[in-house]
């Protein structure tokens, strides 16, 4: 087992990893930018190293600085968390070259899954259902027009290196295709450094359902079941839950088998997530595999009782999985609300100093956060200030625990999306489990209607 792990991240996930290391008896090293000198991950780690100024490129994305920090502290492994360097194949390679264990899959798997077009092709060849669309990337509209006609409009143009909704364009008719492709290429080039795009059929109101995977270095691969992540705004998830209300045991089994096939095809090691879209007719399509721990991993932990971060560390240290597929039982229901420092109506980021901070507690409530009273939410980084997670014996109990938790969760000094979460938890469609990726837009439109009417 590792003696010392450097955490190449900040905020709640850095703390989450520190807690896992504590429980495993592993020393921790925090790295931080000058903007985060007073952060909790710096205070609670055994050692801390300032690696640069606030700008991401100069600190948390600065591979040289992170590696140098690992070298001077003698860390034997690096946990990248999510975001920042978590899906950088190059970083994983540098770690390998420096004899520091990267806690995640190998660089080749990260690279393959990071190229969304290539991942699609690979999975198509493996017999995993994918959304009808181009094989590989498309250079221009001349190439894309016949394909779009064949699969039918609307189609969506996506960046091959994509993620987070950037480099994406919805195309409703053939005359829009040329402009959409050049816009997506420009955006993809700016955001990811590569202009490559591909085209696929646009599913109007699918559900976003993903399966958690764990694989060890002995070829054992299991799935810990699904998470329903359909409540999104501009491709950013806001509420997640496990299990999904829509999966029948039969459909769950089929999707799980496909998820396992994706992972087996690439010989997946460590924690990863296979994402699917599920349409109204119950057809599902592979969209991508995220080769990292995800923000929403706690809902899976709450229903399986398995600590995913500890499993990541044990797998990276060369241990075999301590459970088999048939040992994994999911019980109860869990919901996560991402608490963001943003205006609940306009979604404008709201950095600043938190003056009052009160957290809920009691049965079935978990909070993953690095915020505290008097802390400053920095404008340099992500607006997520914490995650409120509840568990119940059934979905309704998880919802009622979330409702009462949101009532007493007090964050003053900055604006947060807590009021939005309260609305979601009271929404009849949400309560019925009637969800798809259009849910939040519809909810927000209704609020505007209400405002106009009054």
């Amino acid at each position: 087992m590792f003696k010392k792990i450097l955490i190449a991240n900040r905020g709640e996930i850095a703390l989450r990893i520190i807690w896992a290391c504590r429980e495993l008896g592993i020393q921790t090293v925090a790295v931080y930018s000058t903007a985060d000198a007073d952060s909790l991950h710096v205070k609670f780690a055994d050692e801390d190293i300032c690696i640069g100024p606030p700008r991401n490129a100069d600190s948390y994305l600065n591979i040289g600085a992170v590696i140098a920090a690992a070298e001077i502290t003698d860390a034997d492994a690096i946990h990248p968390g999510y975001g920042f360097l978590a899906e950088s194949a190059h970083f994983a390679e540098v770690c390998e070259a420096c004899h520091i264990r990267f806690i995640g899959p190998g660089p080749n798997v990260i690279r393959l899954m990071g190229d969304k077009a290539k991942a699609r092709e690979t999975m198509l060849a493996a017999g995993v259902p994918i959304i009808p669309g181009s094989r590989g990337t498309m250079a221009d509209e001349q190439e894309a027009l016949p394909l779009a006609a064949k699969i039918g409009y609307p189609v969506i143009v996506k960046a091959a290196a994509g993620g987070g909704g950037r480099g994406m364009r919805l195309v409703g008719s053939p005359d829009e295709l040329a402009a959409a492709m050049s816009a997506a290429r420009t955006e993809a080039k700016a955001a990811f450094g590569v202009p490559d795009v591909y085209v696929e059929k646009y599913l109007k109101s699918p559900r976003h359902i993903e399966f958690q995977i764990l694989g060890d270095s002995f070829g054992n691969i299991v799935t810990l079941g699904e998470r329903e992540c359909s409540i999104q705004r501009r491709h950013q998830k806001i509420v997640e839950e496990a299990p999904s209300t829509v999966l029948t045991p039969k459909l769950r089994r089929r999707m799980a088998e496909s998820a396992l096939k994706v992972a087996r095809t690439v010989g997946y090691q460590n924690a990863g997530t296979v994402e699917f879209l599920l349409d109204e007719e119950g057809r599902f399509y592979f969209i991508e595999m995220n080769t990292r721990i995800q923000v929403e991993h706690p809902v899976t932990e709450m229903v399986t009782g398995i600590d995913l971060i500890k499993e990541q560390i044990k797998i990276a240290a060369g241990e075999s999985l301590s459970f088999r597929q048939e040992d994994i039982q999911t019980t109860g229901h869990s919901i996560e609300c991402r608490i963001n420092a943003e205006d609940p109506v306009t979604f404008a980021p709201s950095p600043g100093k938190i003056t009052t901070f009160h957290l809920p507690g009691g049965p079935g409530v978990r909070i993953d956060t690095a915020a505290h009273p008097e802390c400053t939410i920095s404008p340099y980084y992500d607006s997520m200030i914490g995650k409120l997670i509840t568990r119940g014996n059934n979905r309704m109990e998880a919802i009622s625990r979330m409702r009462r938790s949101l009532e007493v969760l007090v964050v003053e000094g900055i604006r947060t999306n807590i009021p939005l979460h309260r609305r979601i938890m009271d929404d009849p469609d949400f309560i019925r489990g009637n969800l798809n990726t259009g849910f939040l837009d519809r909810l927000l439109e209704r609020k505007e209607d209400a405002a106009v009417a009054s």
Partner: protein, 162 residues
């Protein structure tokens, strides 16, 4: 605050910190700054800091304390004293090789752009240059010690080269 009163207040503060579980204490007020660092006492494993590695960490983090025994209030610097800070994370070396002479000694006059030390990061030797003309007053880090981004390396009294 009068001198005697300040001394007794600092003494009381030191006693309080000594008795507490704090390892480090910093207070900044207008025109006044104090930093107290408690160094772990290693005696047969009975130490105020719980884990052995944390002691190593604390020892590594307070390299400055080796030259300036804690606790002591940070001296108020004269306006012509400039602190050269580390631009990167790495290991600090005063010379280009173990047998070579130090790039600079205390009292040396240096020019802007002159190499003061090397910081090794990822097996690369990065020469760190002075960002002003002046005289080396103090080297703040011992040879071979790890340094973080922004860590003070040298104190230089600014002035045109003689």
């Amino acid at each position: 605050m009068g001198g005697g009163e300040l001394d007794s207040e600092i003494k009381a503060l030191m006693e309080y910190i000594e008795a507490s579980s704090f390892v480090e204490f910093e207070l900044e007020r207008e025109g006044f700054k104090i930093k107290l660092v408690k160094r772990p006492i290693v005696t047969n494993g009975v130490a105020p800091v719980v884990s052995p590695a944390a002691q190593v960490a604390a020892a590594a983090a307070v390299t400055q304390a080796a030259e300036a025994p804690a606790p002591r209030p940070a001296a108020v610097e004269a306006p012509d004293v400039h602190v050269v800070k580390s631009p990167i994370v790495g290991t600090f070396y005063r010379s280009s090789s173990p047998t070579a002479r130090s790039f600079v000694e205390i009292g040396d006059r240096v020019k802007k752009g002159q190499v003061l030390c090397i910081i090794e990061a990822m097996k690369l030797m990065n020469e760190i240059e002075s960002d002003c003309d002046g005289e080396i007053l103090e080297a703040l880090v011992a040879n071979g010690q790890p340094v973080e981004y922004g860590e003070p390396l040298f104190k230089v009294r600014k002035g045109a080269p003689a």
